[in-house]
C-alpha cells in the first residue's frame, strides 16, 4: 500500500517545492537579470570600431540608457517625430532611438532606449579591408542636416558623407514618421563592405521570452538565433527580412536585393551579430521600434513576420489576430479577452448543450448507478468500468470529455505568449485596479477570485477518478493554482477567471433545469397516487 502512495506524495512535495523555488527565484532575481550581465567588454574581435567607441563605457553596465550617455561619439543629426527621437552619430550609425510614448518606459520610469549601448549599432559599415576600416573608424561623417523634424506622415532625407583617402562613402537616408527608413549606400569605388543590423534593444523584462536575431528567408522560412546560443557563422541569401529583436522591440532590415548575403555570426558571448554584405549602390529599408502589428503591416506586410511568440507562434499569432479584431470593436484589451472567452464558449456550445441533455437523462438512472457504486466501493477501477457501461447502455454521459478540456490548454498557452510578447498589450488597462494586463495583479485580487471560482466549479461538476489519491490532489488544485497565478500576467488570470464563471453559470443552468424537470415528475407522480387513492 505504501509503495502506491509514494509517487503521488512525491509529486505533491515536488509541486510545493517548485512553487517555492519559482516564487523565491522571482523575488531574489527580478527578471531584470539579463540586462546586468551585459557588460561592454564584449565584441572586440568582430567589430573593432564598435569596441573602440565603447572603451569609455564602464563594465558596471546597469541600464542601457545610461550607457549611451557615456559613449564618446558625438551626435551628428537628430531626427524627431511624434513617436520617437532618433540620433545619428559621427560614424554614420544610428546611435540612439528613444520612444516618446510613456507606455514604453521601463519600470523605473526611464525613457526606453532602443539602441543597445553594447555591440554593433544599426547602419554601421565595416570594410573587409582592415586598413580602410581603421581609417573609416577615425574619420567623421559630414551631414547635410543637423536636425530634422518629421510631421504627421512626414518624411525627411539626410545625406551622410565620409571622405576617406581614395574613397567617398555616401549614405542617403530617408526617415518616415512611422519609424521606418530607406537607405542607399554609395561608394566612389568598388570595395567589399558590410552593413550592420545592430544589436537588439535590451529592454528585456520578463523571463521566457526569446531574444536574438531572426532571418526570414525563401519560402516562409524563419530561422531564429537565440542569445547565447549561436554557433559558427551562417550565411543566407534570398532573405526577405532580418531582425534583431527583444521582447517588444526590434531593429529590422528588409527590401534589399535577393542576392544579398546576410551573415549571422556569434560574438564573444555567443549572441548573434547580423550584417548584410553591401554592394555598390546598395539600397534597402529598415525599421527600429516596437513590434506593433498594425504599424508593421502598414509599412510592409512582410515585417509582420518579425512578431515572434516562440515555438508556439502558429497558435499564438491567430489568437492575437482575433484579439486585435475584438479590440478594434470594443476598444479595451481586458474586455477583448472577456469577449474571446465568450467566443470560445460559443464554439464549444454544441458540445456543452449535448452534455446538458444527457445530464437530464442521467438523473433517471441515478439510483441504479448508486447501486453499482455501492457494490464496487473498494475497487475504483471496477466501479468506473461498471458506471461507464451503465452510461453507454442508456446513451447518457454526464462527463465533458477530454477533448474540450485539452483544447483549452493550447489556447491558454497562446494567450500567455501573446500577453508576454505583444507590445500592444503593454500597459493595457481593464477595470478599476487592473492597470496593466501584461503584468501580475499587484493586489492579487484576480488570482484569488480565480481560485475561488475554480473551487466552486469543482464542487458542482461531476468528475471521474480511478485513483483516490489523484482525487485528493485535485481538491487542492484551486489553492495551488491561486499561488501559481500570483505571478502570471493579469490578462491570463482574467481569461481563466471568466472561463470559470461561464462554466459555473452553465452548470448552474443545467442543475436548475434538471431540478425543474424533477419537480414536474414528482408532482406528476403525486397526482397519480392521488388518483389511485380515489
Amino acid at each position: 500500500m505504501l509503495d502506491k502512495f509514494t509517487p503521488n506524495q512525491r509529486l505533491l512535495v515536488a509541486v510545493a517545492l517548485s512553487f517555492l523555488f519559482f516564487i523565491g527565484y522571482t523575488t531574489i532575481f527580478p527578471p531584470k537579470a539579463p540586462n546586468s550581465e551585459e557588460n561592454a567588454t564584449q565584441a572586440a574581435v568582430v567589430k573593432p570600431s564598435a569596441a573602440q567607441a565603447h572603451s569609455s563605457v564602464t563594465t558596471e553596465a546597469s541600464a542601457p540608457a545610461q550607457e549611451i550617455k557615456t559613449v564618446s561619439t558625438d551626435t551628428l543629426t537628430t531626427i524627431s517625430a511624434k513617436e520617437f527621437t532618433l540620433k545619428i552619430d559621427t560614424l554614420g550609425r544610428i546611435s540612439s532611438l528613444i520612444l516618446s510614448d510613456k507606455k514604453h518606459n521601463g519600470k523605473d520610469g526611464q525613457l526606453s532606449e532602443l539602441v543597445s549601448g553594447a555591440g554593433a549599432k544599426p547602419l554601421y559599415i565595416r570594410f573587409a579591408d582592415e586598413a580602410l576600416n581603421a581609417a573609416a573608424s577615425k574619420t567623421a561623417y559630414a551631414s547635410s542636416a543637423s536636425s530634422i523634424v518629421l510631421g504627421e506622415n512626414g518624411k525627411g532625407t539626410v545625406t551622410l558623407t565620409q571622405n576617406l583617402p581614395e574613397l567617398t562613402v555616401t549614405k542617403t537616408l530617408t526617415f518616415y514618421a512611422d519609424g521606418h527608413y530607406d537607405a542607399k549606400v554609395n561608394l566612389s569605388s568598388e570595395k567589399r563592405y558590410y552593413v550592420y543590423l545592430g544589436q537588439h534593444p535590451q529592454i528585456v523584462e520578463k523571463m521566457m521570452t526569446v531574444v536574438g536575431s531572426m532571418i526570414y528567408a525563401g519560402d516562409n522560412l524563419t530561422t531564429i538565433f537565440k542569445d547565447g546560443d549561436v554557433e559558427g557563422r551562417s550565411i543566407f541569401t534570398d532573405v526577405h527580412m532580418a531582425s534583431a529583436f527583444d521582447q517588444y522591440y526590434a531593429s529590422i532590415m528588409y527590401g534589399f536585393d535577393k542576392s544579398t548575403q546576410v551573415v549571422v555570426e556569434r560574438d564573444t558571448k555567443d549572441n548573434p551579430v547580423t550584417y548584410l554584405e553591401g554592394a555598390n549602390n546598395f539600397t534597402f529599408s529598415g525599421y527600429i521600434g516596437p513590434k506593433e502589428y498594425k504599424t508593421l503591416e502598414s509599412i510592409n506586410p512582410i515585417l509582420v513576420n518579425a512578431i515572434e511568440y516562440g515555438w508556439f507562434t502558429f497558435v499564438a499569432a491567430p489568437i492575437f489576430k482575433i484579439l486585435m479584431y475584438l479590440h478594434g470593436m470594443i476598444g479595451n484589451w481586458g474586455w477583448s479577452i472577456v469577449a474571446l472567452t465568450v467566443l470560445i464558449r460559443i464554439i464549444l456550445y454544441p458540445l456543452t448543450h449535448k452534455g446538458m441533455v444527457s445530464m437530464q437523462k442521467i438523473k433517471e438512472i441515478a439510483p441504479r448507478i448508486k447501486e453499482v457504486q455501492e457494490k464496487y466501493k473498494g475497487d475504483p477501477q471496477r466501479m468506473n468500468a461498471a458506471v461507464m457501461e451503465m452510461y453507454k447502455k442508456h446513451g447518457a454521459n454526464p462527463l465533458g470529455g477530454c477533448l474540450p478540456l485539452l483544447l483549452q490548454i493550447p489556447v491558454f498557452f497562446a494567450i500567455y505568449r501573446v500577453l508576454l510578447n505583444a507590445v500592444e498589450l503593454q500597459g493595457a488597462e481593464w477595470v478599476m485596479w487592473v492597470h496593466d494586463l501584461s503584468r501580475m495583479d499587484p493586489y492579487y485580487i484576480l488570482p484569488i477570485l480565480m481560485g475561488a471560482t475554480m473551487f466552486y466549479q469543482q464542487r458542482i461538476t461531476p468528475s471521474n477518478f480511478t485513483d483516490p489519491l489523484q482525487e485528493k490532489i485535485f481538491k487542492y488544485l484551486p489553492l495551488i493554482f491561486t499561488f501559481f497565478f500570483f505571478t502570471f500576467p493579469a490578462g491570463l488570470v482574467l481569461y481563466w477567471f471568466v472561463n470559470n464563471i461561464f462554466s459555473i453559470a452553465q452548470q448552474y443552468m443545467v442543475n436548475k433545469q434538471f431540478e425543474a424537470a424533477r419537480m414536474a415528475r414528482h408532482e406528476a407522480h403525486l397526482a397519480e397516487k392521488h388518483h389511485e387513492k380515489d
Partner: protein, 110 residues
C-alpha cells in the same frame, strides 16, 4: 526507447495535467489510461493513431462508455501465472485482441 519516453510522459501527464482536465473522461479506460495501455502493448504507430482517434472521440458528440484498446499482436512473457500477476486479458475479436485490464492485478499500474 521512444516507447519508454512516451510512457514517462504519460506518467507525468497523468500526475499533473490530468488534474486540469479534472477526471472528465467519458470512457473506461480513461483516455490517458487507454494511451498507457496502447503504448505498453501495441506498435508505436498504431498506438499513436489509436490514441489520437480516441481523444477526438472524447467529447459530447460521442457516447463514451467502455472502449477497450484493440491490439494486433499480443506479447506474452509471464514469469508467474496467477490471478494477481496477470495484468491484461487478451480477448480475441475477429483477427485482433481486446486489451482488458485484470482488476485483480496487484503490480505497478504504469
Amino acid at each position: 526507447m521512444v516507447r519508454k519516453l512516451f510512457l514517462k510522459l504519460l506518467w507525468l501527464y497523468r500526475h499533473s495535467f490530468s488534474l486540469v482536465t479534472r477526471g472528465a473522461c467519458r470512457h473506461y479506460p480513461s483516455c490517458s489510461e487507454y494511451a498507457l495501455w496502447q503504448f505498453e502493448r501495441n506498435t508505436l504507430p498504431r498506438a499513436f493513431g489509436a490514441t489520437f482517434l480516441r481523444i477526438c472521440r472524447c467529447n459530447q458528440l460521442f457516447d463514451g462508455g467502455i472502449d477497450y484498446p484493440v491490439i494486433s499482436k499480443p506479447t506474452i512473457k509471464p514469469t508467474e501465472l496467477s490471478i494477481n500477476t496477470i495484468k491484461y486479458w487478451f480477448v480475441p475479436t475477429k483477427r485482433n485482441y481486446f486489451l482488458i485490464k485484470n482488476f485483480k492485478f496487484k503490480g505497478s499500474q504504469c
